[in-house]
């Protein structure tokens, strides 16, 4: 069941190679080369993860990312050849959960895909509370009062990681390891961008966050409400 990957890439050779590697690791890849058709194929195939090339013919990879994110919380991993920080941040802000820089090792790619899909094991029933936010870990739902807040799986993981240890301050590196599954230091901008996105969804006033609080010079922690 878990393991369908939609590969959105215009480069036929790379797409085919990605297919070989993914199949070799037990995933079921689907392919689409054209950005305009990507959302359509996404709806039909209902994948568990999207591998998205940032530079696509037709609509831009960023647009595709936005459209998919608008209708689904499915994990999106971007493939990018651009090393400039602006492009990476733009991709993350448009909804990607993670990115991987070309050229990459097969193992690295597979590890990153696995990390995004690893929530297959059923978590124990657990209820968490930060401020006025109630989190049902097993049921994957976040509520403020009766209102349900719609989070992507990654945002949910981030919130749960913070909520499980309410008084602990998490550095960006620790969050990268716990939430994204990075073994060694990576791009801390991933954390910054996703914290911003999480705040936009759960804070009453994202300019003055009360639930995910910045600890200057260290990292983030769950607010006391």
């Amino acid at each position: 069941m878990k393991g369908r990957v939609l590969v959105v890439d215009d480069d036929a050779a790379l797409a085919e190679m990605l297919g070989i590697v993914l199949r070799g690791e037990g995933f079921e890849p689907t392919f689409v080369a054209d950005g305009d058709k990507a959302v359509e194929v996404f709806r039909d195939s209902r994948p568990d993860l999207v591998l998205l090339d940032l530079m696509l013919p037709g609509s831009d990879g960023i647009d595709v990312c936005r459209q998919i994110r608008a209708e689904s919380g499915v994990p999106i991993v971007m493939l990018t050849a651009k090393t400039d920080t602006v492009d990476v941040v733009l991709g993350l802000e448009s909804g990607a959960d993670d990115y991987i820089m070309k050229p990459f090792k097969s193992k690295e790619l597979v590890a990153r895909v696995r990390a995004r899909l690893r929530r297959t094991d059923e978590p124990a029933p657990e209820m968490l509370q930060i401020g006025d936010i109630a989190i049902d870990v097993a049921g994957h739902s976040v509520k403020r009062g009766v209102e349900t807040l719609n989070l992507t799986p990654l945002e949910f993981d981030l919130l749960v990681a913070l909520a499980r240890k309410p008084r602990q301050v998490f550095t960006r590196e620790v969050l990268l390891e716990q939430v994204w599954g990075y073994r060694h230091a990576a791009d801390t901008r991933l954390v910054n961008v996703h914290v911003q996105r999480l705040r936009a969804k759960i804070e009453k006033d994202p300019e003055h966050p009360e639930i995910v609080v910045t600890v200057r010079g260290v990292g983030y922690k769950a607010g006391t409400g």
Partner: protein, 602 residues
């Protein structure tokens, strides 16, 4: 005494303060006065300094003050000569009219009272005694002119006549003292004339004159006057005294007018000079401002062109210069943009197929166990060379980013000692394989500086790996030190060292220390070139020292505040004394006590 040296320009003050009298005076002055004097001097010095600054800075001030001073000087000189000329003219005309009047007076007196005047004075005769005769003569002379107020008359009785006790030397109006007023020079001259006179009416005695001071009866001076004397027969002399009252008044008036007009003229000229200079200086100031803004990066800055004069020409050529600069810069910017775009495109275009190749190689590499010996080895080679290819690609892109001027500094306050430890991983592993160690000499306090973490790590990794690679298995020593402005890291190895001249060449692209030597670690040949650019981007230095067989030193010096100019490095470049003498005291600015000792990992 330092105050005295500062007052060198005021000689008299200095002289006074130095004299024993001056010292005594100053000692006895009350404190308040002394303070006041000091404050006064300070104020004066400040004012002088201010004036000097304005003089240096403002062309307008210079022109106006020079005009003012020169104008006052010229007017003063002209006025002086004018007054002198007018005074001389007045004197000449006064002399002329005075001598004429004296001559007229003489002939009148001689005509009317010749009987009395020409006979020798007798003391007892009622009509021939000297005072009487003199008085008659004086009155006659006074009445002759008609304008009695303008002059004074005196008659002098010469010695040659009556010597009786009743004889008086002078008869005159009682408003002045003739004996004090008429100068003795004039008396002598008239006396000589009197002796020479022949009384034949053909050769009348000529009047003599002399400027003098009119002296009143009580001896007080009544202002300058002209005294004219003429002999009156053999026994008497007739004197006229013309006070210069009206002439003086006139001269005073002239002087006042001159001073007033001169001052007004000077002020007017200064104002005109100020206006005219302003006229010239303002456009120049505008030009300076525009040039300043231009150099500050406001390339659209232009000057206003008014008319067709020299200043308009200045403005026009300034604008032309600005346009051509702007054009050139735009062209360069365009080129740089094209270059950057190209680098970005190449990056993307190369990276996509490289990603495919790499994944394929990974696949082959992992399944090499099932392959024959040849294909298996090929898969291994493919794998390792792909890594090298990728590093080379990354380095090439990095250096072309520098060439395009697209490299930006992402500076943070970072502990450089941490970076040193963190970047040593690769070098440590390599050193272990070679049987050497890396010895760290880092200060305990940490060395914080504003640096770009990624770039500094790259520099350190490069020079550390280089040191181990060329260190022939001997230890490598890493030292860090800092002073107020800079942080320095030096990496010392005791390996092959460098040939003379190589300390510059090592930083060149694709340069190899020894062409015949095989590469063992697969460096791209761009590492040190990129490191040098990285250091320069911080405003820092990366320098090398080396000697054949004695090893080498690579020293990185970075300013504590990014972009600040470096004056020096806290660490020496070259072998330090400790290794030459075997002693423990280094020559570096940091005593060994500050070095926490050897941190060795592995």
């Amino acid at each position: 005494m330092t105050a005295v040296s500062k007052l060198r320009q005021h000689y008299w003050i200095t002289a006074f303060r130095r004299s024993s009298f001056g010292r005594a005076v100053i000692r006895r002055l009350p404190g308040r006065v002394k303070r006041g004097l000091r404050a006064g001097r300070r104020w004066q010095r400040r004012a002088v300094a201010q004036l000097r600054t304005r003089w240096r800075r403002s062309l307008q001030f210079r022109v106006v003050s020079t005009t003012l001073v020169l104008c006052v000087l010229v007017i003063a000189v002209l006025g002086f000569f004018l007054v002198q000329t007018i005074a001389a003219g007045l004197l000449a005309s006064a002399e002329k009219s005075a001598t004429a009047q004296a001559a007229g007076g003489r002939s009148t007196v001689l005509g009317l009272s010749s009987v009395l005047v020409l006979q020798p004075p007798e003391a007892d005769s009622p009509t021939a005694n000297a005072p009487y005769v003199a008085q008659v003569a004086a009155r006659t002379a006074l009445e002759q002119g008609g304008s009695a107020g303008n002059y004074l008359v005196a008659v002098h009785l010469t010695d040659s006549g009556d010597t009786s006790s009743t004889a008086v030397p002078w008869v005159a109006e009682n408003t002045f003292s003739p004996s004090a007023t008429v100068p003795s020079d004039l008396l002598n001259k008239v006396g000589a004339e009197q002796l020479a006179e022949k009384y034949d009416n053909q050769n009348p005695a000529a009047p003599q004159y002399e400027p003098t001071t009119l002296v009143g009866n009580n001896g007080q001076s009544l202002g300058p006057a002209l005294a004219v004397g003429v002999p009156l027969g053999p026994y008497y002399q007739l004197y006229y005294v013309y006070p210069f009252t009206s002439e003086q008044a006139f001269l005073l008036l002239v002087q006042r007018v001159l001073v007033g007009a001169g001052l007004a003229l000077a002020v007017l000229l200064a104002a005109i000079a100020s206006l005219v200079t302003r006229w010239v200086v303002l456009p120049v100031r505008h030009a300076a401002q525009a040039a300043q803004r231009l150099s500050a990066g406001h390339l659209e800055e232009r000057m206003r062109v008014l008319g067709v004069d020299d200043l308009a020409a200045l403005a026009t050529s300034f604008n032309e210069m600005a346009s051509s600069l702007q054009g050139k810069l735009r062209e360069l910017e365009e080129l740089s943009k094209v270059q950057r775009q190209f680098v970005s495109d190449v990056s993307h275009e190369l990276r996509t197929p490289l990603a495919t190749i790499k994944m394929a190689a990974d696949l082959l590499f992992e399944s090499r166990a099932g392959l024959d010996r040849g294909p298996a080895r090929s898969a291994e080679l493919l794998q390792s060379q792909l890594e090298r290819f990728e590093t080379l690609l990354v380095d090439l892109l990095e250096i072309s980013r520098y060439d395009a001027g697209a490299a930006t500094l992402d500076a943070d306050l970072v502990d450089v000692c941490d970076l040193v430890r963190g970047s040593a991983d690769d070098a440590q592993q390599l050193a272990e394989r070679r049987g050497g160690r890396i010895e760290f000499r880092l200060p305990a306090t940490g060395c914080f500086a504003e640096v770009d973490r990624r770039r500094v790590e790259r520099i350190l990794r490069n020079i550390l790996v280089n040191a181990v690679e060329h260190g022939e298995g001997k230890d490598v020593v890493v030292t860090t030190a800092m002073d107020n402005d800079a942080v320095a890291v030096s990496v010392r190895d005791y390996g092959v060292g460098l040939r003379p001249g190589d300390d510059q060449q090592v930083f060149e692209r694709f340069w190899r220390a020894d062409v015949s030597r095989a590469r063992t670690t697969g460096g791209t040949g761009l590492g040190l070139a990129i490191s040098l650019e990285d250091a320069h981007l911080h405003g820092g230095w990366l320098q090398a020292w080396g000697e054949r067989g004695k090893g080498s030193v690579f020293r990185l010096t970075l300013p504590k505040i990014a972009g600040q100019e470096l004056a020096g490095s806290p660490l020496p470049l070259g072998p330090d004394d400790t290794e030459l003498t075997g002693g423990s005291n280094g020559t570096g600015p940091f005593p060994t006590a500050k070095i926490t000792g050897t941190i060795s990992r592995g």
